[in-house]
């Protein structure tokens, strides 16, 4: 469903993503771990077609994002980091706009919006202006936007960032539920989410994959059984890099 092939991104002299390759199959939830600045967001931006890669390719449902970006984009639902939204719109207005731009119209559009609002528990704030909403609701509005067209592939950049424990739990449950018939790639800093929601996880550091496996495999690989230990031993600390 998602095939990343030798994806590389260079910003000036800085290599943000270095020859990255991995596959996410249907029914898989891949956790994308790594320290800040490891290239997680950049990779996601390339798969969604927002950033052009320096070299390499990404395929979504077999469609290359480089050769056929328009078709590839229709297959993907994407929640960007920190869930940017048009603050001057109401939740329902925003979702209707997103649905229209994805080519839904008439009753299809209204059904899609209604379904997304229900899935993301937004009914109580549907008619509110987005700039009056709390962070949790904003995040869920962003998530609803990604689900509108019932995409086969979901790419979520830190979907649980800034949420309270209850909201985190709900989002993880949602990811797990959706993961049964979609391919999901989501990035996170929270290592417990690997056990809570992922079927597989990769750890990236400075643009390269340093670990890849099911949660059980990663636990075994760490030696001590703790993902934190594994994470700390495999990735570079920014204090270290500066020295």
């Amino acid at each position: 469903m998602i095939e990343v092939e030798n994806l590389t991104k260079q910003f000036g002299s800085k290599l943000a993503v270095d020859d990255l390759s991995f596959i996410v199959k249907k029914g898989e939830v891949l956790g994308f771990l790594g320290p800040n600045g490891a290239g997680k967001s950049t990779t996601m931006r390339m798969i969604t077609g927002f950033l052009p890669p320096t070299s390499g390719d990404a395929k979504v449902c077999g469609i290359s994002v480089i050769d056929n970006p328009m078709a590839a984009k229709t297959k993907v639902g994407y929640l960007p980091e920190s869930a940017p939204l048009y603050l001057d719109m109401t939740v329902i207005g925003f979702l209707k706009f997103c649905a229209s731009i994805r080519g839904l119209a008439g009753s299809d559009r209204n059904d899609a919006v209604e379904r997304a609002i229900e899935t993301c528990f937004l009914t109580s704030v549907a008619k509110q202006s987005i700039d009056t909403l709390s962070k949790g609701y904003r995040h869920r509005t962003g998530l609803a936007q990604a689900l509108l067209h019932d995409p086969e592939v979901l790419i979520l950049d830190e979907p649980t960032d800034g949420l309270d424990p209850n909201q985190k739990y709900e989002v993880r449950q949602l990811i797990k539920r959706l993961g049964k018939d979609k391919a999901i790639l989501f990035s996170t800093h929270i290592l417990e989410e690997v056990d809570a929601a992922c079927t597989r996880a990769v750890i990236v550091d400075r643009g390269r994959i340093v670990a890849d496996g099911t949660p059980a495999e990663l636990h075994a690989q760490s030696g001590s059984g703790s993902l934190t230990d594994l994470f700390r031993s495999l990735t570079t600390r920014d204090t270290e890099e500066a020295a």
Binding site: M70, T74, V76, P84, L85, L87, M89, C98, I101
Partner: protein, 243 residues
């Protein structure tokens, strides 16, 4: 189709917030104020609106048009919604066209609301309404030109204030170039060829002929190509920023 969706969103956003109303009210107050004070509308007794009314439009637009256009891309880049837009299945070009037309519509509404002055001259005298129509077209095209410049600047920055200042500076230059008093002074200092070149960059030459009721192909081509080049530049800058 997607241009239309974006056009609707932008237009709703203008009229859901005070922006459009503030601009329209200030434009009406300024244009009427100048017509009746410095334009000496009552004293001149001329039923054509060329000198009393339309003459002031470029001076007002050079300050107010950038205020309408400044948010178009600057705001998208500041709030990060450009990432949403960039991952929707829409081309950058259709987003540019949709946004530009929405801003132009705000100005079209503002210009249409000056209709009482047309009724007044028709009541008091016997004007050439074709010439008045041409004057409106000239005004609208000058305004669109300034909006296109603002849009180009707005793609370069995420700061609306920077965008406003830079765009106003460019628009003021375009109004001064080719304004008689200014070019006369310039002619004393430089060669005739330089003056020719500077006049051709200004809006007056093209605005005046339309204002006199003269539809010259060269003016329409000048406006259209200037706007087109600015929009093309916007597209180039937005793509370059992602690479």
């Amino acid at each position: 189709m997607s241009s239309l969706t974006i056009y609707k969103r932008e237009l709703t956003s203008y009229f859901a917030q005070p922006t459009a109303y503030a601009i329209i009210v200030i434009f009406l107050a300024l244009s009427m104020g100048l017509t009746f004070s410095f334009g000496s509308f009552m004293r001149v007794g001329d039923a054509s609106l060329e000198w009393t009314f339309f003459f002031w439009h470029p001076w007002i637009f050079m300050l107010l048009a950038p205020a309408v256009g400044m948010k178009l891309w600057a705001d998208e880049q500041r709030t990060g919604t450009i990432e949403l837009l960039g991952t929707f299945p829409v081309s950058t070009w259709s987003a540019i066209v949709g946004k530009f037309l929405a801003a132009a519509t705000v100005w079209l509404v503002a210009l249409l609301l000056t209709f009482p002055i047309v009724i007044t001259v028709n009541y008091l005298g016997d004007p050439d309404n074709g010439a008045i129509l041409a004057g409106y077209l000239g005004s609208f095209l000058v305004c669109c030109t300034f909006l296109a410049i603002t849009m180009l600047v707005s793609a370069c920055t995420r700061d609306q204030v920077v965008c406003l200042i830079v765009s106003v500076a460019i628009c003021v230059t375009m109004v001064l170039c080719g304004y008689d008093d200014f070019t006369r002074e310039l002619a004393k200092a430089t060669s005739p060829t330089a003056v020719e070149a500077i006049i051709s960059f200004g809006v007056w030459d093209h605005f005046r002929s339309l204002n006199r009721g003269l539809f010259r192909m060269q003016d329409l081509v000048w406006f259209a190509s200037f706007i087109f080049v600015c929009l093309l530049g916007t597209s180039a800058i937005l793509s370059a920023k992602r690479a």
